[in-house]
Subunit: 321 residues, 2 copies
């Protein structure tokens, strides 16, 4: 088994960056203008598999022992983590089983299956994906690869921050990051200790923001309505991710579906990038003027771009709901 | 006046690369899989202004004398060159007038006006844009900046090839390039003397391919039907661009609108890139199996991504015509 370390660290993120170099794309940092200021978009939607998730998955799977690899891996995810694990597993010759909600975007389900992973669907409302993955793990010995509640995963996602620092030649004053379980936000915070980090969640699913405000982990309310930002739809954050952001005094924000759609449209018009609703959350917060003080040279992370074409067309047409 | 050199050269392309570094984005070379082979997409749709055109425009305008700059510049273009010239001119404090066809995509017209350029519209069927630009130049002393029939422009566009070589660490076996007037194709051919270069044009607008076959410049037929690949809709190529490709023994190809739409959809699904019809021509030729022998490590240039959102939605929905 991989050593069970207590918390992700900056050194761990740096080691992950060395470990996964050559396995992932160094995604571009693209300039754009907003209110006369030059900002930067870190285009993780251009990552292989369409989201940053390949980073953490690769960092985790590269550290499995040969015995562990033979038992395979199992992961639960609404899509992007699933696809990241499936790609990393295929490359390393590891069997992968993915537990996905039956309402996950078709494009994410098909892409995961295309990587050769076995898909197990579950009902998001009535079944417990963690229990299903645990049962598969018990039956087959497969290693569970969590989507964010894991030191290696957080450190792998943090390599986005290492690249930002290298590409700019300095730490940016501000990095705005889409936030589901907080793996990407906390990893970037570790990688860029001098930057202000602002995690952005979907409205009513802003449990990281409320947890940071309260100083303890608070789950999403049982009455949270559906959100189109499916990639960020996590019911509760992790002590690992919360711990990093809490120690940094971070504060979070939330955006609406409509604000995310406007950001997707901006990315289409101004950056020629296909961004999914959740991947556009950070940009949405900036464009909707929700982030206090966005200095010249700030970075906005576009974390994913896996979106059904029909839905994307409806966003461009202004008919998305 | 800039020295009137006889032909673009590899040394000129290298000098252009040094000259415009810092003014343009070093666009990413993104991997994708096709029939089990790893190919690379050079994503010039992520260039500032949404197309490679900023390269040539910047290379040309940086070489104007102070006296020339005071008289301003005039360019004719259906859109991408217009926008590139407008951006470069604004940055250098030069007044720009752009002569555009009245049927140019709205997104390109608005983007060009947003850069502060004066727009003069003309009727593509009944007016001569070269004559209009010439009249403006005579009246105001403005320097005409051609979209491809110019040594500095060709050498500027060729910097795409310099970057490809640097990013791969070698010359690729094959580079497939969208071709209108041939500035990008010939510039890349100069930059990568060891690579096979294949220019791809719209069906019936494949005058470069026919010229290369005949060994002399042949214009587009008067009966050529409209094409959705508006960026590649040039009536005749230039001795500069034809000369380079002819000397290399290059052969060209043509793709249909429908083949270009399929490539736009592939870029959406597999690369998360917004590509316009003309910008997708080279990818279309590969996907439609029109390029003989596409070895592992070949490069496909995606030359632009300025497309009206409503039309793009119709491509995703399969209703584009």
């Amino acid at each position: 088994m991989t050593e069970n370390r207590e918390a992700p660290t900056r050194e761990g993120v740096e080691a992950a960056a060395r470990r996964i170099a050559g396995w992932v794309t160094r995604t571009p940092l693209l300039p754009f203008e907003w209110r006369g200021r030059r900002l930067w978009a870190k285009a993780e939607c251009l990552q292989q598999g369409g989201a940053f998730k390949l980073r953490g998955a690769t960092n985790r799977l590269l550290q499995l022992t040969d015995a562990e690899k033979r038992h395979g891996v199992v992961a639960f995810s609404s899509g992007n983590h699933a696809r990241g694990v499936a790609i990393a597993a295929r490359r390393l010759g590891i069997a992968a089983t993915i537990v996905m909600p039956s309402d996950a975007p078709v494009v994410k389900r098909e892409a995961t299956a295309a990587e050769g992973a076995a898909i197990v669907l579950y009902d998001r409302m009535n079944e417990d994906r963690i229990a299903i993955a645990g049962r598969i793990s018990q039956e087959t010995g497969a290693i569970v690869v969590p989507s964010f509640d894991d030191v290696d995963i957080v450190e792998g996602q943090g390599t986005v921050g290492i690249e930002i620092g290298e590409q700019l030649g300095r730490e940016p004053p501000l990095v705005v990051v889409p936030c589901g379980g907080g793996g990407l936000s906390s990893g970037i915070a570790l990688a860029l200790p001098g930057s202000r980090v602002v995690p952005v969640e979907p409205a009513a699913w802003d449990d990281m923001a409320r947890s940071l405000e309260r100083g303890e982990i608070v789950p999403v309310g049982a009455d949270a309505p559906p959100t189109r930002l499916d990639a960020l739809q996590t019911p509760v954050v992790s002590p690992y991710t919360f711990g990093v952001l809490h120690a940094r005094g971070v504060r979070g924000l939330a955006v609406s579906d409509v604000e995310a759609f406007a950001a997707m449209r901006f990315a289409f018009d101004s950056l020629r990038l296909v961004v999914e609703p959740g991947g556009a959350a950070a940009l949405a917060a900036v464009l909707a003027d929700k982030v206090a003080d966005v200095p010249e040279g700030s970075v906005v992370v576009l974390s994913g771009g896996n979106v059904d074409p029909g839905f994307y067309a409806s966003v461009l047409n202004g008919s998305a709901a």
